[in-house]
């Protein structure tokens, strides 16, 4: 069943359409939500609620649109809201250098042990970023969204995305430059 058919089924009140979408996208959504929230239980709540809200409002969804970007956008916003509910005041740590270095290092490690050690450090480094910065990183490097898509997804001006990625860009230019230039 393709996504369009799943949407049609959901619009007809059939749960099978939702089952199809959940089975297809839940792991990706959960991992992205976890990277933003750093909390497995919170990530599960966020993704459950995202699918439920989508099902309840599906009649307003234009079935000609792609489902995945919409779901991931909703999920990232829900994850951000969930984190903000827990922490009203957000500390501002804009130093992305540690995270960028580790991420870069991890792209070329051979050993599983080394990779696992780096993974833990990456996670710890991610936790030093603000939830909003984490959301931008997740959208850019995990969900592989374009800058315009990210701006739309976060309901912010493209300039804000630019700012949020600015520091990372400066430091990652040499490493990622060749790859970005392909896009």
């Amino acid at each position: 069943m393709d996504d369009q058919e799943a949407i049609r089924q959901m619009k007809n009140g059939k749960i099978s359409g939702l089952e199809n979408l959940v089975n297809k996208y839940q792991i990706k959504a959960l991992r992205a939500a976890f990277l933003v929230t750093h909390d497995e239980a919170l990530a599960e709540d966020v993704v459950q609620d995202t699918f439920i809200r989508f099902y309840q409002r599906v009649k307003h969804f234009d079935e000609n649109r792609s489902v995945e970007p919409y779901l991931m956008r909703s999920m990232v916003n829900a994850a951000l809201n969930a984190v903000h509910r827990d922490r009203k005041m957000i500390s501002l740590d804009r130093d992305l250098a540690q995270f960028e270095g580790l991420l870069t290092q991890a792209t070329s490690v051979e050993s599983q042990v080394e990779f696992k050690q780096l993974s833990e450090k990456i996670l710890a480094s991610l936790s030093q970023l603000t939830p909003r910065q984490r959301a931008v990183i997740v959208q850019r490097y995990y969900l592989e969204m374009s800058e315009a898509e990210m701006a739309q997804a976060l309901d912010i001006a493209p300039g804000t995305v630019k700012w949020l990625l600015h520091a990372a860009r400066n430091r990652l230019r040499d490493i990622f430059g060749a790859e970005r230039s392909k896009k």
Partner: protein, 723 residues
């Protein structure tokens, strides 16, 4: 081995989110719960408000023409058939620092209205989590003979509410107000079983009671009804009726009811005899009779008026029938699907049976396609009795389904009977309405106010103008424009709207006095933009109502009802102590150390100023608008605010000095205005944000000292103006 960035992050997350995880059971379980029931159980505050709403709809009795009605601001519409009584004096009770006050009561022949206020309820005593057991028992009245009167209507919130009860016998001058517990508090956390003795006396002769005239209506129904294509006008019964028409001050209020539960009314329009759309708003006064829909508009119109609603009406064609023979085999399996694309002629329509599928609940699902007007159908399998079924579709989509569940799944050759085709139609109903006895203007008893700079006539003229701005204005403005997204777009432009550029999505824009920085509330907190470098700086703080200090080094703002001052870079966050600790509003700065703000009181907002160094607080004056909005002019000499004119229904825009002197009406109450008006950086001009039909705002430029006016050349709400 070379990993992509996505792979790296996926592996990082995989250690916490394994591939084996499956959320489907929890999602299905949550969906099968009844969300409304759950939310009611877990949100007692909502229960209270819904109860009030339900009571207001159910308990009303149609008003009969000929009764003597009056409107008491803050209390509502009451009957004046018998002498009105009021509370002898406000009564208060303090327990553990929490103060319960009955500020007033009005006893009329049709109801008892109690105005109550609750102050200083500590935040920690209230529930802040879903699902907690909390108090939600409503206050009631206890009469000397033991009779208890329970809530029949009203409105308000935890801090301030208007409560309606049945009438109290005229020979009874003393009762007890009982509050079992404070709504939303945790069990045992706050004092319970409050009781206050109330004493009543005849209303003073000078009490403000605005005459309310019940209008004898004449309706011509139906004048027109047709489907969305404008063809084949139908004579289906108009699904709404006007139940009450009132004239209060210079306003007419129309209240009505829906006659057909299955018809959802939407897209209301009110058109005058010349075909012009009339600006109508929801009723703005309290204590109205019950209604499903209601509108308030200026009485001075070209009658008759045409009221129109759109709605989707649904009918079932009972004699429609079609049959299909189909063999599902002897052992159909859950999930098995047969794609048929079989046309069915039924009810003079052709629909397509797309597929039949065995569902997971021991039944079949039938999926249809083809006709956007068809939204449902009944299905039976001959010889089998279904345990239940479901299905349906939404109007306009063309897809719908029907399902049947059986104790034993039917197998083999099936005779499937389709019937009762459900047809939905988008219709537009129109009714003409005329007032036969509009209240003459001279009978209005509102306190006369001096001529405003912006009168209704002036506003009407300005709205129609499309001329370049004649005044030479400096600086930049920021306008909020609704572009269909959850948050408005913020556009920076010249004051006439030229050279506009979208700079952010958010609300509560505030330009620094030098025009270099813009603060606004984004989707997750306050941001500051350096407009020169286009640097976006999230302050990491949630709040709204930001206002820059004169030297642009600090901002005041509101967060969770409390007032704060913070440095422009987000550091040095300082909560401002205000007394009493009620909802606050930010108004402005007099100098770099003195802020002006509003504190919610029983009947409006009290404006105060406070010196940030000494903490010295000075009362200024009181305004009566719902949110306490106001704005201090950049030179610190004036304040602009929305305020209710005595006994009036609407609010006007005023300016005055900080002590309330030299008060001047800028926009008369008949002009529909937003609460927020914006000063020019030189303190010479005001932008009054006016509201046009269709939720678009029309900003009007007003010189409050010379009364020169002009329309700014764009739609949107001006939220900031700086150099």
């Amino acid at each position: 081995m070379k990993h992509s960035h996505r792979t790296v992050l996926d592996n990082v997350a995989q250690q916490h989110i394994p591939d084996s995880i499956n959320l489907l059971p929890q999602i299905i379980q949550k969906l099968e719960r009844k969300p409304l029931k759950q939310s009611l159980r877990t949100r007692p505050a909502l229960v209270f408000l819904l109860l009030l709403l339900a009571l207001s709809i159910l308990s009303g009795v149609a008003y009969a023409v000929g009764r003597s009605l009056g409107y008491i601001p803050g209390v509502g519409v009451i009957e004046q058939d018998s002498p009105i009584r009021v509370l002898t004096e406000p009564v208060s009770l303090e327990r553990d620092g929490i103060v319960l006050t009955i500020t007033d009561a009005v006893l009329s022949s049709d109801k008892t209205t109690i105005l109550y206020a609750l102050e200083n309820v500590p935040w920690k005593l209230l529930s802040h989590q879903e699902g907690e057991q909390v108090c939600y028992e409503s206050p009631f009245l206890y009469l000397p003979d033991g009779e208890m009167l329970f809530l029949t209507g009203g409105g308000g919130n935890l801090q301030k509410a208007r409560l309606e009860y049945p009438p109290i016998p005229s020979d009874l001058d003393q009762i007890t107000f009982m509050l079992p517990c404070i709504m939303d508090t945790l069990p045992g956390a706050a004092p319970e079983n409050w009781s206050l003795g109330l004493h009543f006396k005849p209303a003073p002769p000078d009490m403000t009671v605005v005459p309310v005239v019940e209008i004898v209506s004449s309706t011509d129904t139906p004048t027109e009804t047709g489907n969305e294509n404008g063809t084949e006008p139908k004579t289906s019964e108009v699904p709404f009726a006007i139940t009450t028409a009132l004239s209060v001050d210079d306003q007419t209020i129309l209240l009505g009811t829906n006659l057909q539960q299955d018809t959802w009314l939407q897209n209301f329009h009110l058109i005058d005899a010349n075909g012009e759309e009339i600006y109508a708003i929801p009723p703005q006064i309290e204590g109205l009779p019950s209604y499903h829909w209601g509108f308030q508009f200026q009485s001075n119109q070209a009658y008759p008026l045409t009221i129109s609603f759109e709605g989707i009406s649904t009918t079932r064609i009972s004699d429609s029938k079609a049959e299909l023979e189909f063999d599902v085999g002897e052992n159909p399996q859950p999930g098995q699907e047969w794609v048929l694309n079989q046309p069915l002629e039924i009810g003079e329509r052709t629909i397509m049976l797309k597929s039949i599928q065995v569902d997971s609940r021991g039944g079949y699902e039938f999926n249809f396609d083809g006709d956007p007007d068809v939204t449902g159908i009944s299905v039976q399998i001959s010889g089998y009795t279904a345990l239940g079924g479901g299905g349906g579709g939404a109007y306009g989509f063309g897809y719908f389904s029907a399902s049947k569940a059986y104790e034993t799944l039917p197998t083999g050759q099936l005779n499937i009977v389709f019937s009762n085709l459900e047809i939905s139609t988008l219709e537009n109903w129109k009714v003409q309405w005329a007032s036969e006895n509009p209240l003459p203007a001279e009978e209005s008893i509102s306190t006369p106010e001096p001529e405003a700079c912006l009168t209704l006539d002036k506003w009407t003229q300005l709205k129609a103008q499309d001329e370049p701005l004649a005044f030479n204005l400096s600086g930049n403005i920021v306008a909020l424009v609704n572009e269909g997204e959850p948050l408005p777009s913020l556009y920076l432009s010249n004051p006439d709207g030229s050279d506009a550029q979208k700079i952010a999505t958010g609300a509560w824009p505030s330009l620094s006095h030098d025009g270099q920085y813009l603060a606004y509330r984004g989707d997750d907190g306050i941001y500051v933009i350096n407009l020169a470098s286009e640097e976006y700086i999230p302050l990491g703080i949630d709040g709204y109502g930001m206002i820059w200090s004169p030297d642009d080094t600090r901002m005041m703002f509101i967060s969770a009802s409390d007032l704060y001052v913070v440095n422009a870079d987000g550091s040095g966050l300082q909560q401002i102590n205000t007394e009493p600790t009620q909802l606050t509003s930010s108004i402005g700065w007099l100098d770099n150390q003195t802020i002006v703000y509003g504190i919610m009181s029983i009947d409006g907002f009290n404006l105060q100023k406070q010196n940030l160094q000494s903490g010295e607080t000075t009362d200024l004056f009181k305004i009566d608008n719902k949110a306490g909005y106001g704005s201090v002019s950049p030179d610190g000499q004036w304040i602009v605010f929305a305020d209710r004119i005595s006994a009036g229904v609407n609010w006007g825009i005023f300016i005055s000095h900080l002590d309330g002197s030299d008060r001047k009406l800028i926009a008369e109450p008949r002009v529909p205005t937003a609460f927020i008006s914006i000063w020019s950086p030189d303190s010479r001009w005001l932008v009054v944000n006016t509201l046009a039909t269709g939720d678009s705002e029309t900003p009007i430029l007003v010189n409050p000292f010379t009364c020169e006016t002009a329309r700014l050349g764009f739609y949107g709400m001006v939220g900031a103006w700086g150099w």
